[in-house]
Symmetry: C2
Subunit: 188 residues, 2 copies
Amino acid sequence: MTRPRRRADAERSIARIVAAAREALSADPDATVDDIAKAAGVGRMTLYGHFRTRPELVEAAIADALRSGEETLGGLDLSGDAHDALTRLLESSWSLVSESAALLVAAQKVLPEGRVRELHAGAADRMEELIRRGQRQGVFRTDLPTAWLVNAVQYLLHGAAEEIRAGRLKTAEAAGVVTATISSMLEA
Amino acid sequence: MTRPRRRADAERSIARIVAAAREALSADPDATVDDIAKAAGVGRMTLYGHFRTRPELVEAAIADALRSGEETLGGLDLSGDAHDALTRLLESSWSLVSESAALLVAAQKVLPEGRVRELHAGAADRMEELIRRGQRQGVFRTDLPTAWLVNAVQYLLHGAAEEIRAGRLKTAEAAGVVTATISSMLEA
DNA sequence: CTGAACTCGTACATGAGAGTACGAATTAAG
DNA sequence: CTTAATTCGTACTCTCATGTACGAGTTCAG
């Protein structure tokens, strides 16, 4: 971790590249290295100077998206009634998932099996903890593996994002629909 | 539709190719035309004699899978209590989805937007009809768009298939878990 | 049996995207 | 100011899968 200190312009380039990668890959998970460099307003060679391979770049992009998501979700107050806490958590998670759905697809494609899950562990843990608390409170069901419930929530969130993308669900409705669906799936 | 009659050996080749395509693409959605030809025990050129492009081949494969799925599901008795009918339908749908999940991914990748959905219409209609009946019976919820419920069921089925593939859910448990999850999502 | 349909190997053309090589022009840092 | 880091264009190599072209054998149909 003690690398030769980077110059300010390099930092700036890297930041622009990562931001551009997030945007470009969120619009099209197959976006080319060249596409991303163009979007960042930077030469392709400059990009390769900072990220040796496309997968490395994709990982940086999704890591950044998750990190900024953590900031949002980390600030939430999830105490009190589990049902209400779930609503709050879903409300915030929803927009994050929706924005970065395609980026996630890109990552799944090029990162080694399981890597995405590792990076995503923080978010999953938060949801799992909430579900366990709800179970202790007798609000959530206990007849199914908790890990499955956590993942089922993910699948429904991503499904809803896909429905919106395909124009079969209105953005305005989405949050309510998602919350209602997931609540009744989890509650005892 | 009045094409010059095909010879028996051609029919046989086509059947083997489609079967091989279903298998190969179900194992790996990125299977090459060459992979499939090899799996079919047929020269790549023979394959191209029957399917001009890879997408055409993929479409034939998924169409065949759906057709054979239709046969299974079409024979089900879905009358009577909607809850029980749902259980029966899921029980049968489950294995079909699980087997062909990767094939579906392959189709999504190369067929034009919406094409997969068209081909899949039969299965979706069956589920939708059942849900509507359950709603009339007062067994299923009516507070969310029916189309969304139908799709949510799909997402959970595919999610469960993915969990199995990743080794996070045991095959033996799957059917029960899926049924319990979906039931509580749909019921009033 | 005979012609048309079919099989299938080899070879080639195409296209796209990843990553490398080289070197000149800039620009930040101390 | 001076040096090392950084930018960035051009041009190239590599790899890989798709699809085409040609042609010689093989097999079915009537």
